[in-house]
Symmetry: C2
Subunit: 285 residues, 2 copies
C-alpha cells in the first residue's frame, strides 16, 4: 500500500489529495505527534526522525512512501532515498515544477517553517529544475552566490528569483482554531509583506497546514498564484504509477486507510477532524 | 550539584531564580529541545520524557533535581519521586502556596499549556494544601465534584475557587519575539477574559515562558496578583537546603553552570539569550 508520513497531523492534507488522485488505493498514515513539530528542529535530527517514520511505514507494508512534511522533504529526502529501498516522494519537487510553470515574472515566493526556509531547498530545487530543462534555457539565476557557483544554466533568457519567508506562527494559530481570527490575518500580513514588496507573483505554500488558510492567504495576497504542494505530489504519484504498471498492480485497492500516531491526546483528534473534515480512528503506536 | 530540566529553553527562567536564591551553587541544566514542546503531549508520554531527562541529569552528577517545566511538574512529579532517588522539586507546589497566601477573595486563576490545564494539577494541589492546613480551615471547595468527593476539608470558613485557562499560543508568540506586539496583546486578552469575568484576584503563571511577558499580563489584568512559580521553587529549594545542611555541604559551589540540550539550532541560542539576557554555551548531547 501507499504510506504517508508527517511530523504530525498536517500531512492529512496530503493524504486527502492522494485519495482524490488515486481513489480506492489502500493508505497508511503515520503522524509523529510524540516529537512534533519538526520545523524548528535541526536538519540532522529531522533526518533521524524521518528515517524512523519511514521504517515504521515499511513495517506496516508500505511499498511507496510519501513524505508529506515539508521540513522532512526539505532536509531528509535524499537521505531517505539512500537508506530506504522503495520509491519515495517528497512535496518539494512537484511544487517547484508547478511554480516554474505558473510564474510570469520569474519571482517565486515560499512560506514555510524555519527548517524548510533555512534549508534553502526550494531555491536549490528551482535551480536544479532550471538546469535540467533544456527547453527553458536560463541565463541568470538570482539565487545566493554560494549556490550559483558553477551552476549557471546554459543559454536562454529565463531569470528566476526566489524569496523565502519563515512563517512559524501559522501552524500553532491554525491548530488552535485561530485561522479566521484577526490576529492570524495580521500576523499573516506581516509574513507576506516582504514577499509582496519583492513583487512575487507565485507563492508556494511550503507547509502542510497552510492549505487550510488558503482563502485567507489569497485574500491577503490577491495577485499571487498559490501553489499547494499536496496537489502536485498526488499528481506526481499518479503519473509514476501509470509509468510503473507492475508496481501499480501490486498495490492493494480496497479503499482501506489506517492512521497511526506516536502520541494521542484529545486535541490530536480535534486537529485530525479539522484537517480531514471527518472523524477518523487514530491508532497510537 | 543542582540539576534543572525543562522541555526546552523556557526553564532558564527557573535557573535564573535558583541562581538568585542560591548564588555560587553549581548548576546543570537540560533542555529537551529535540522533543519540545511537552505541553501538547499526553501525560503518559510526558512522564516517560521527564524520567529520561532526570536520568540524564543524574548522570551529570545532579544530587537534587528541579523540574522547571510546568507540564512535567503537573503530570510527572509523583512518578519521578517514585523512580528517582534524589530530592525532586516541581514548580506547582510552591506556586500554590504563594497563591493561597495572596488571594483575598479566594478566586485563583491559572494560565498554562493544555497539558498543565487538563491535568487539573493546580486544582488538586490547592485542595491538598487546604486540607493539610489546620490553621486555614475550610468548609467548601468549589472544585469539580469528582475531585471533591470524600475530600471535604474539616471545619472553618475558607472557600477557594480555581479557574484554569489553557493559553497555548503564548509560548510560540514569545519564542518568535512577538511578546510586545499587538497580536500577542489581543490573544492574551482573549485568554484572560474568562478569568477576569470570574473575578480572579490571583493569577498563577503556569508556564516557564510567561514571566517574560509578566508586565504585559499585569497591564492587561491590573487587579490580579501574579504568581511566578520560578520564584517559589527557588525559595523552597533554599529552605530545603537550610533544613538539610549535610546535603547542602555536599553540593559544589564554584559558581559553575553547564547547559545541555537534546537538539541545537541557531534559533535555540537566540531563545536562550532571550530568556537569560546573556549568551551561554549550549552543549548538544
Amino acid at each position: 500500500m501507499i504510506g504517508i508520513f508527517d511530523s504530525g497531523i498536517g500531512g492529512l492534507t496530503v493524504l486527502k489529495e492522494v485519495k482524490r488522485a488515486l481513489p480506492g488505493y489502500d493508505l497508511v498514515y503515520f503522524g509523529d505527534t510524540a516529537r512534533l513539530p519538526y520545523g524548528n528542529k535541526s536538519a540532522e535530527l529531522i533526518r533521524q526522525y524521518a528515517l524512523e517514520d519511514a521504517e515504521f511505514l515499511l513495517e506496516q507494508g508500505a511499498q511507496i512512501i510519501v513524505v508529506a512534511c515539508n521540513s522532512a522533504s526539505a532536509v531528509a529526502l535524499d537521505f531517505l532515498q539512500e537508506k530506504i529501498n522503495v520509491p519515495i516522494f517528497g512535496v518539494i519537487k512537484p511544487a517547484v515544477k508547478e511554480a516554474l510553470q505558473a510564474t510570469k515574472n520569474g519571482r517565486i515566493g515560499v512560506i514555510g517553517t524555519r527548517a524548510t526556509v533555512n534549508s534553502k531547498v526550494y531555491e536549490r530545487e528551482i535551480m536544479s529544475q532550471l538546469s535540467e530543462s533544456k527547453e527553458e534555457a536560463v541565463d541568470d539565476l538570482k539565487i545566493p552566490a554560494f549556490m550559483r557557483q558553477g551552476k549557471k544554466a546554459a543559454g536562454g533568457s529565463r531569470k528566476i528569483e526566489v524569496f523565502s519567508q519563515a512563517a512559524p506562527l501559522l501552524v500553532p494559530l491554525i491548530e488552535e482554531g485561530y485561522a479566521k481570527k484577526g490576529e492570524t490575518k495580521r500576523i499573516l500580513k506581516r509574513y507576506l509583506l516582504p514577499l509582496k514588496m519583492k513583487q512575487v507573483d507565485t507563492l508556494i505554500l511550503g507547509c502542510t497546514h497552510y492549505p487550510l488558510i488558503k482563502d485567507i492567504i489569497q485574500d491577503k495576497f490577491r495577485r499571487a498564484k498559490l501553489i499547494d504542494p499536496a496537489l502536485g505530489v498526488a499528481q506526481e504519484l499518479k503519473k509514476f504509477l501509470q509509468q510503473n504498471p507492475e508496481l501499480d498492480r501490486s498495490l492493494s485497492k480496497r479503499g482501506q486507510e489506517k492512521f497511526f500516531v506516536s502520541d494521542l491526546t484529545e486535541h490530536t483528534e480535534d486537529i485530525a477532524r479539522l484537517f480531514l473534515g471527518r472523524k477518523v480512528k487514530l491508532n497510537k503506536i
